[in-house]
C-alpha cells in the first residue's frame, strides 16, 4: 500500500517536473528565438516614454518691474489614433474650431503610416479655442456620445509681449523654434531659455522615479524705462511725419553709468506677430539702427575733434582761427557747409557755426597720429560692447589702410568718410558728461535666478580726455547752443550739444539732395544725468539738423526730465544747497 502511494507520488512529481521543464524550455526558446527582439521592442513601446521637460523661458521686465516679455499657454491639438472612434465627426469638429478644411483634417486622420499612434492637427492653438473644444467634448461625453474620442491637447508655452511693438528693437523676438532673434532675446538666449531636461518616464509604477527639477530660465530686468520708451517712440514717430524723414532713431542714456533708458528706431514690429519681420525689413541691420547700422554722422563728430585738439594742447578755447571759407588738404579743397567764409573765430565759434574748414585745420595741426590716436581712444571703429545682438563695427580709416588718403585727415575731422553707429557716438561723448571717462552702454540692469539678484555693474571704457577737457567742452557746447538760440535748448535747464548734417554717400559720390540729420546733447551741464542722440534719415522738410533733429532733442529732453524727476537747474541747485 505504502509502495503504491510512493509510485503515485513519484508520478505526480515527475509530471510537475516535466511541466516545469516544459515551461522553462518554452521560456528559453522564446527568449532566444528570432522574434525575441520584436517582442522586446513591442514591450518597450509600452514600458514608458522619453519626455523632454522644457523650462519656462525667463521673463523680461523694464527697470520698474513692468513686464515686457512673458509666456502664455498655447496648445498642440492632436488625435490619439488608437482611441479614434469616428474620424468623420472628429474631422468636422476640428476643422470648424481650428479654421481648417474638413478634407485636410480627415486626410491626416485616415492616411498615416502604420507605426503612427498620434497625429498633430494644429499647434499654437489659443487657450480660448481649446477651452471651447474641451467643453464640447465634455458635453458629448456626459450624454454617452464617444464620437470625439481621441482628441488630445498638449499645452506648452509661447512667448508673449504685452507691449506689442514697444521697445521691439531692443527686445528682439522668439520664433517657434524657441530661439531668440535680435536684441536681448538673441543676446541672452542661453540665459533666458534655460536647459531642457530629457527623462525616461516608465509606465511601471514600481519604476516610477522622481522627475528632476527643471529650473526656469533666468529673468532679466532691463535698464529701459518703459514710460520714457513709449514717449520717445511717440516723439520719433511724430517727428518722421513732421520732417518727412524716411526713418530715424532716438537713444536716451544715463552718461554716468551707461544705462540705456530708452532706445527707439523705426520701423518697429508687433512682436506677437513676428512674421511681419519679412515685410518690414530688408536686412537685419535695419532692425535696430542704433546698434546694427553704421553711418557717416557729419558734424556731431566735430566735438571729438575739438576735444582731441584741446586735450592735446593744440588749441585752447580762446585760440582764434581766420576762416576764409575753404582749405586745401591732400590736393582737395574742403569748404564750409554753406561755402561762406566766417572770418575770425575762436574755438567756440568754430563749433557754434560748425565750420568744416576750422576742423580740417585742427586735424592738420594735430597731425594724423595724434588725431587718429584720439579717435581710436574714443572707440571709433570698435564695437562698444553693448549687450544687444549684431552690433555693427563702423569704419575708421587710418594711415596705412590702402584706402586712406591725406584728404581723409581733413574730412574725418568733420565726420565725413568715417562711419559710426549712434551707440559709438554716445559712448564716445559720455566722456564729456562724465569727467573724461567713457562708460560702456548696456541694457541689462539685473538678472534674477533662483531667488537671487545679480546686478550688472557699470563699466568704464577708457579715459580718452582729461576731466578738465571734458568740462571745457561742456561749457563751449552749452555756450554755442545758447549763442545761436538753438531750438535744442530746454527752458530751465542748461544743456550742451551739437548738430550734425551729413550728405549720404552713394556709389557715385555724395548725394547732395539727401542728408542724415543728427544731434547729440546732454544735460544738465553741471551734473549730466541724461544724454540723448537723435538721428533722422533723409528729412525732406529741411536738410539741416538745426531745423529737424535739434527741436526733436528738445522734446525728448523735456519728457526725460519729467519722467526722471530732474528738476530745473535753479530748483535743483536751491534744493541741493539746503
Amino acid at each position: 500500500m505504502r509502495q503504491q502511494y510512493a509510485i503515485r507520488s513519484l508520478f505526480l512529481i515527475f509530471c510537475f517536473a516535466l511541466a516545469g521543464l516544459g515551461i522553462l524550455a518554452q521560456m528559453i526558446r522564446i527568449q532566444s528565438s528570432e522574434q525575441a527582439s520584436v517582442f522586446l521592442s513591442q514591450g518597450d513601446l509600452y514600458a514608458g516614454e522619453f519626455r523632454t521637460f522644457y523650462p519656462e523661458r525667463g521673463l523680461i521686465y523694464d527697470r520698474n518691474g513692468y513686464l515686457l516679455a512673458g509666456n502664455r499657454t498655447v496648445y498642440e491639438v492632436g488625435v490619439n489614433l488608437s482611441d479614434l472612434n469616428d474620424p468623420e465627426s472628429v474631422a468636422y469638429n476640428l476643422s470648424v474650431y481650428l479654421g481648417l478644411t474638413y478634407d485636410e483634417v480627415y486626410n491626416r486622420l485616415t492616411d498615416f503610416p502604420d507605426t503612427w499612434r498620434y497625429v498633430v492637427i494644429q499647434d499654437y492653438v489659443d487657450a480660448d479655442v481649446v477651452a471651447s473644444l474641451q467643453e464640447l467634448i465634455q458635453q458629448m461625453k456626459n450624454v454617452g456620445d464617444r464620437r470625439l474620442n481621441g482628441i488630445a491637447f498638449h499645452p506648452h508655452f509661447q512667448r508673449s509681449y504685452p507691449e506689442d511693438a514697444l521697445a521691439s528693437n531692443v527686445l528682439g523676438f522668439v520664433a517657434r523654434d524657441g530661439r531668440g532673434y535680435f536684441g536681448i532675446e538673441e543676446k541672452y538666449n542661453d540665459l533666458l531659455a534655460g536647459n531642457p531636461v530629457q527623462v525616461w518616464v516608465p509606465s511601471d509604477p514600481n519604476k516610477a522615479t522622481e522627475i528632476p527639477r527643471v529650473p526656469n530660465g533666468t529673468d532679466l530686468a532691463l535698464t529701459i524705462n518703459r514710460d520714457l520708451q513709449a514717449r520717445v517712440e511717440s516723439i520719433l514717430d511724430d517727428s518722421l511725419v513732421q520732417y518727412g524723414a524716411a526713418n530715424g532713431a532716438i537713444v536716451v542714456m544715463d552718461p554716468r553709468n551707461g544705462e540705456i533708458l530708452a532706445m527707439a528706431t523705426t520701423p518697429r514690429m508687433d512682436l506677437n506677430n513676428y512674421n511681419a519681420y519679412f515685410s518690414l525689413y530688408d536686412n537685419g541691420s535695419q532692425y535696430n539702427r542704433v546698434v546694427n547700422m553704421a553711418y557717416e554722422p557729419g558734424s556731431v563728430l566735430k566735438i571729438l575733434t575739438m576735444a582731441a585738439a584741446i586735450d592735446n594742447g593744440t588749441v585752447v578755447p580762446q585760440t582764434t582761427f581766420l576762416d576764409t571759407g575753404s582749405i586745401q588738404i591732400g590736393g582737395a579743397v574742403v569748404w564750409n557747409w554753406n561755402r561762406d567764409s566766417w572770418g575770425l573765430q575762436d574755438m567756440t565759434g568754430c563749433l557754434q557755426h560748425s565750420l568744416n574748414v576750422c576742423m580740417t585745420w585742427l586735424s592738420t595741426q594735430m597731425g594724423p597720429s595724434v588725431f587718429y590716436g584720439y579717435m581710436e581712444r574714443f572707440g571709433l571703429g570698435r564695437r562698444t560692447g553693448i549687450d544687444l545682438a549684431d552690433e555693427a563695427l563702423g569704419r575708421l580709416k587710418t594711415p596705412g589702410d590702402s584706402d586712406w588718403y591725406i584728404v581723409d585727415l581733413g574730412t574725418n575731422a568733420f565726420g565725413q568718410g568715417v562711419s559710426v553707429t549712434a551707440m559709438q557716438m554716445l559712448m564716445a561723448s559720455s566722456a564729456f558728461a562724465n569727467d573724461g571717462k567713457m562708460v560702456t552702454p548696456h541694457v541689462l540692469y539685473s538678472m534674477l535666478r533662483d531667488g537671487h539678484q545679480y546686478n550688472v555693474p557699470s563699466q568704464y571704457g577708457g579715459s580718452p580726455i582729461s576731466a578738465q577737457t571734458a568740462r571745457t567742452l561742456n561749457n563751449m557746447l552749452a555756450n554755442s547752443l545758447e549763442a545761436e538760440a538753438s531750438s535744442a535748448l530746454l527752458p530751465g535747464y542748461r544743456v550742451a550739444g551739437k548738430t550734425g548734417t551729413a550728405q549720404i554717400p552713394t556709389d557715385y559720390g555724395y548725394d547732395p539732395s539727401k542728408t542724415n540729420a543728427s544731434f547729440i546733447g546732454w544735460g544738465p551741464v553741471d551734473d549730466p544725468q541724461f544724454m540723448i542722440y537723435i538721428w533722422l534719415q533723409q528729412p525732406t522738410s529741411s536738410p539741416w539738423s538745426s531745423e529737424t533733429a535739434a527741436p526733436v532733442f528738445s522734446k525728448v529732453a523735456e519728457q526725460t526730465v519729467i519722467l526722471l524727476n530732474i528738476p530745473p537747474d535753479n530748483v535743483r541747485l536751491a534744493l541741493s544747497s539746503k
Binding site: E56, L59, Y61, R63, N64, G65, Y66, L67, G70, N71, R72, T73, A127, P155, F157, S160, P162, E163, D164, L166, V201, P205, N206, A208, T209, E210, I211, D219, A221, R226, D227, A230, S446, L448, D450, G451, H452, Q453, P491, G492, E558, V561, I562, N565, P567, P568, V571, R572, L575, K578
Partner: protein, 151 residues
Amino acid sequence: MQVTQIIHAYKQAPWRVQRQYTGAFLLIVIGVAMIAALYLMVSARAAITGREIQSLRDEITVTRRINADLEARIGDLTSTSAMQQRARQLNYRPVLPGELEYLAVPNFFVPEPAILLAAQDATEFERIVPPEYTQSLIEWFDERIRLGGAQ
C-alpha cells in the same frame, strides 16, 4: 540486543518526524510569504508614493502655467497702451513742465521695483526637508555609527 533496544528507545516516532519536517517547511513558507507580503506592501507604497510625486509634479507644472498666464494677463492689463487709454477715460493728461513742483524730502529713497524685492532665497526649501526624505538606509547607519548614539 541491548544496544538495539536503546537506539530504538531514543528514535522518534515517524509521525513526529514528519510533523517536524512539515512544520519546518511551513515555517519557511510562512517566512517567505511574510517577506513577500512585506516586499509587496513596501513596493506598492513606493509605487503609490512615486505616482503621487508625479501627480504633484504635474500639479506644479499646471500651477506654473497658470501663473505664467496670469502674469501675461497682468502684463496686458497694465501695458502702456492700456494704461494710457484708462488715463484718458479718467480725464488725465500728461503733465507739462511748468506744472511740476519739486520738493526735497529728507531721507527719501526711490523704492526698488517689486520684482527685485521679491527675490527670495530658494534654497530655504531644501534646508527644511528632513534627512529621512533624502537619506538612504546605509547613510542613516553611517550617521548613527559616527554619532555613536548621541542625538
